[in-house]
Symmetry: C2
Subunit: 432 residues, 2 copies
C-alpha cells in the first residue's frame, strides 16, 4: 500500500451514545458524532479578522488550529494547518477528529471548565463565513443518478430507450471546472452565453439557469500516474462528502454540448457545502445499492456496501419570500453507481488521483415528481412551472435574486449526521 494510506479497518467510530458538554439539539446536523472539517473566516470587534480550520458542533465551530496551538490536541502531520491547506490524508483527519471528540466529550473538563480557552477557540456559527474546505485540484461530475439520466433521455430522445447502451456498464462522467467551485454563501453571477431562440442565435444572460442536486466526495491521497488503484483499495483514497449544486445554463448546454459534452453551460460555477463530512461519520448510513443488471465487469465489482441513505432537500426563496419553499425531497440511495465504483473507474486507466480532487455524483432524482433534482425535471422542460405558495410567483428556471438552498443529512436513532447547507443567491449577469 502507498505510504500514508491506511486500511479502512481502523475507522474512527464515535458511539451513538456519546454526548458533548456543548449542547446540541437532536435536529442539529453537527452532533459530536459528526465533527466534519472546514475553513472559515471571522471578523472580530477590533476589526481584525482570521481564517482558520474548524469543526462545527451544534451552533458553534471549534477552531482546531487554535486547539493545536494551545496544546489541547496534538500537533498533527501538517499542523497547524494553513488556510486552504490539505489534510495529510484520511488518517490525519481521523486523528484530528479523535482528539477533538475526546476534548468535547461531556466528561472532559480541560476546555469545558476553562472560560478563556473556550472564548479563544469556540465561535458561534452565526459569526463565521464558511470558505472552501480544500483547494479543488480537479472536479469530475458523474451521471450516476439513474432517474435523472432516464428523465433526460425521455425528454430529449423520446423515441429511444431512455438510457444509452453504456449507462449500466460504466459510471458515465466528465471533467468539470475546478476553479469555479465555491462554498455556500458565495453568490453566483448569472452567466452570459450563446443560445438559440427559435432560429436566432443570441449571446446574453442565460434564460434557463438551473440547479442540480448532487453530492460529492474529496480525495485524500495522491496516486501514481499509470498505476490504477483496485476497487478493493480505493476506499482508502476517499476523505469525506459534501453537498454539490452543479449550476447549469440549459439553453447554453443545448447549443454547445455536441459532440464533446457540457462546457460553458456548467463551468461558470459549482457550489458546495462547506464542511467535509468524513466517511467514518457516515458509516451508520451505509446501505447496499440497487441491484446492478447486467452484472458489471470485475474491475467495478465491490464486496462492500457502497451506497448511503442520506436525505436531501432543495428549497427556493425568491426575493419577495420570507422563508424558503421546499421544492424537492430526494435521497442518495437513488444513485445507480456507488462512490467506490466511480473512483475505481476514474483510476482504472491510470489517471493520477490528487489530494483535493472532487468527484460529484450527477443529479440525484427520486422516482416521483416531487423528488426530481433539477428544475429541468421538476418543471418538465418548463411545461409545468412551480408556484411559490407564499407569494404566488411562478418559476420555470431561476431568476435574479432567488436563493437556492440545498441540505442533507443521515438520520440515526436520536441524532443526525448532516451537511449543513449550500445556500446561494443568484446575482444579475454583468452588463458589459
Amino acid at each position: 500500500m502507498p505510504s500514508g494510506v491506511i486500511s479502512s479497518v481502523s475507522r474512527l467510530s464515535i458511539p451513538s451514545s456519546a454526548k458533548s458538554w456543548i449542547e446540541v439539539s437532536p435536529e442539529s446536523h453537527f452532533p459530536i458524532q459528526n465533527l466534519p472539517v472546514g475553513v472559515a473566516a471571522i471578523d472580530f470587534e477590533d476589526d481584525s479578522s482570521e481564517i482558520f480550520n474548524c469543526m462545527p458542533i451544534g451552533d458553534f465551530v471549534v477552531n482546531i488550529d487554535m486547539l493545536s496551538q494551545e496544546g489541547l490536541i496534538p500537533e498533527f502531520d501538517g499542523f497547524p494547518l494553513a488556510p486552504w491547506s490539505v489534510f495529510g490524508g484520511q488518517e490525519s483527519l481521523r486523528e484530528v477528529r479523535r482528539a477533538v471528540f475526546a476534548l468535547l466529550e461531556e466528561s472532559n473538563s480541560k476546555l469545558r471548565d476553562h472560560a478563556g480557552l473556550r472564548e479563544a477557540t469556540i465561535h458561534s456559527r452565526a459569526n463565521i463565513v464558511p470558505l472552501m474546505p480544500m483547494k479543488v485540484s480537479a472536479f469530475v461530475d458523474f451521471y450516476s443518478g439513474i432517474n435523472h439520466a432516464s428523465n433526460v433521455g425521455r425528454m430529449f430522445r423520446p423515441d429511444q430507450p431512455p438510457l444509452l447502451p453504456n449507462y449500466r456498464h460504466l459510471p458515465v462522467g466528465y471533467n468539470g471546472r475546478a476553479s469555479s467551485v465555491v462554498p455556500s454563501e458565495h453568490d453566483v453571477t448569472r452567466p452570459r452565453g450563446q443560445f438559440k431562440v427559435g432560429d436566432d442565435l443570441l449571446f446574453g444572460p442565460t434564460r434557463e439557469l438551473d440547479f442540480e442536486l448532487e453530492v460529492g466526495f474529496f480525495v485524500a491521497n495522491d496516486s501514481e500516474m499509470g498505476e490504477p488503484i483496485s476497487i478493493d483499495e480505493i476506499e482508502d483514497y476517499m476523505l469525506g462528502m459534501v453537498l454539490v449544486n452543479d449550476w447549469s445554463a440549459r439553453d447554453v448546454q443545448r447549443w454547445e454540448y455536441q459532440p464533446l459534452g457540457p462546457f460553458l453551460a456548467k463551468s461558470f460555477a459549482t457550489s458546495i457545502s462547506p464542511w467535509i463530512v468524513s466517511f467514518d461519520a457516515l458509516e451508520p448510513f451505509r446501505i447496499a445499492g440497487p441491484g446492478q443488471e447486467p452484472p458489471v465487469l470485475p474491475h467495478l465489482q465491490s464486496s462492500v456496501k457502497g451506497h448511503y441513505d442520506i436525505q436531501l432537500e432543495v428549497g427556493i426563496q425568491t426575493a419577495k419570500m420570507t422563508r424558503p419553499q421546499t421544492i424537492c425531497r430526494s435521497n442518495t440511495k437513488h444513485l445507480y453507481w456507488s462512490f467506490i465504483q466511480q473512483l475505481a473507474h476514474q483510476s482504472s486507466n491510470g489517471t493520477p488521483l490528487e489530494i483535493g480532487d472532487l468527484y460529484a455524483t450527477g443529479t440525484i432524482s427520486g422516482e416521483t415528481e416531487d423528488s426530481f433534482g433539477s428544475l429541468l425535471e421538476l418543471t418538465w422542460r418548463g411545461q409545468n412551472p412551480l408556484t411559490m405558495g407564499e407569494t404566488g410567483e411562478t418559476r420555470t428556471f431561476l431568476e435574479d435574486g432567488d436563493t437556492l438552498i440545498m441540505t442533507g443529512w443521515g438520520q440515526a436513532e436520536g441524532y443526525r449526521i448532516g451537511f449543513g447547507e449550500v445556500r446561494t443567491t443568484v446575482e444579475p449577469a454583468p452588463r458589459q
Copy 2:
C-alpha cells in the same frame, strides 16, 4: 485593468539581426530571438542533483535561477523562482527574457568572458531532463482544427454534413484532466479501459492508442469569477505556447463518450513540449486566420491577427527502427478558431482564469492525407495502415515500445523560433 496585467503594446521584440556569443545553428529551435522558459533537472558527477528554471539557447540551457543569484540578471518579482513556480504574469517573463537577452547578446562580456560563471550557469541540453514548465491548474481542449472535425464527422456521421451546426459559431471545447499533463521524455503507460469488440464488452489494454497533434497556450494571470474578460483584453492573459500530444484511446472513446463527451479515453495522459515559447517571440509568425463565415457574434470578433504560421511534424520510431519516420506535416494555420477567440469564449461566461491554465487547440490536420494529425485520420479508421520504410512494419494504432515525436517551429529569415520536441515512448499496460 487588473494589477499585474500590462498591455501587449509593450511587447519585447528581439531584433532578427541579434546574435549571441553562444553559437546557434540556423536550424536550431532556440536562437537568441526565442528564449523560452522551462524547468529542468540535472545530475552532477558528484551525485548531487538540482532542479532549476532555465532558458534553452542553441544546444544549451541557461540556469536563470543561478543568473539571478549571481546578480547577472535582476531579481524579479517571485525570483529566484522555486521549481514548478509560477511566473508573475506576462510582464515578469518579458523582464526575464529582456535581461537574459542582454546578457547573451554577442557584445556583452559579463558572462561570455567569465569561465567560472559560464560553467555554473550554462549546461548542455543533452545533460538535462525537462520537467513541467508550470503546474497545470486546468486543462481545456478545444476542437478548433476544422479539417480534423470534418474528417471525424465524415467517418462517424457519413450521411450528415461533416460539421455540426454549432461548429462555426463557437469554439467547441471540453475540460480535460490537468493531473496527467506530462512533459516530453515522460513515458506513457498504455491505459486499460472498457470497449466493445463486436458484441463483447471487454476491459483491458486499449487496442487503439492514438496521438493527437495539437498546440496549446498557458495562461499568465488570474481573473475574477463572474467577470468576463473581453476579447480586446484577453491577449494580456496569454503567456506562451507549447506543443501538445493529446493521447487518445479510440476504442474506449467510442464506447464511453455519449452523452457527456470524452473522459477516460483521454484522461490517462497528455504530453507537452517543455519550453513555454512566449507570444512575443512568435510575433513574426502572426497571420490572419481563415475567413469566418457566417460572421461570428460580436464577443468573438477580434480586430487583430490571431493566427500563427507554425510548421508541425509528427514522427514515429518503433523499437526496431534506428530513426523516426515522419508521418505527418501540418501547420497551425489550419485552425478555424484563434487562441484569442478560444480564451475569450472560455471567459465569456465568467469562468475564473488561473495562472497555469493550459488551453489546447484540438487536433490540427491539414487538407491532404499526409497532413492529418492523428492515426485515426492518417489510417482512416485503420483501413489504410502506415508502413515504416526502414523495417516494413505497419501501424494502424501505436504499439508498445513505439516512440512518438512531435516538433514545430516558425521559420523566419535566417532563424527559427522552435518548440523543441514532445517525445514519448509507449510503455505496456500494467498487468494487474
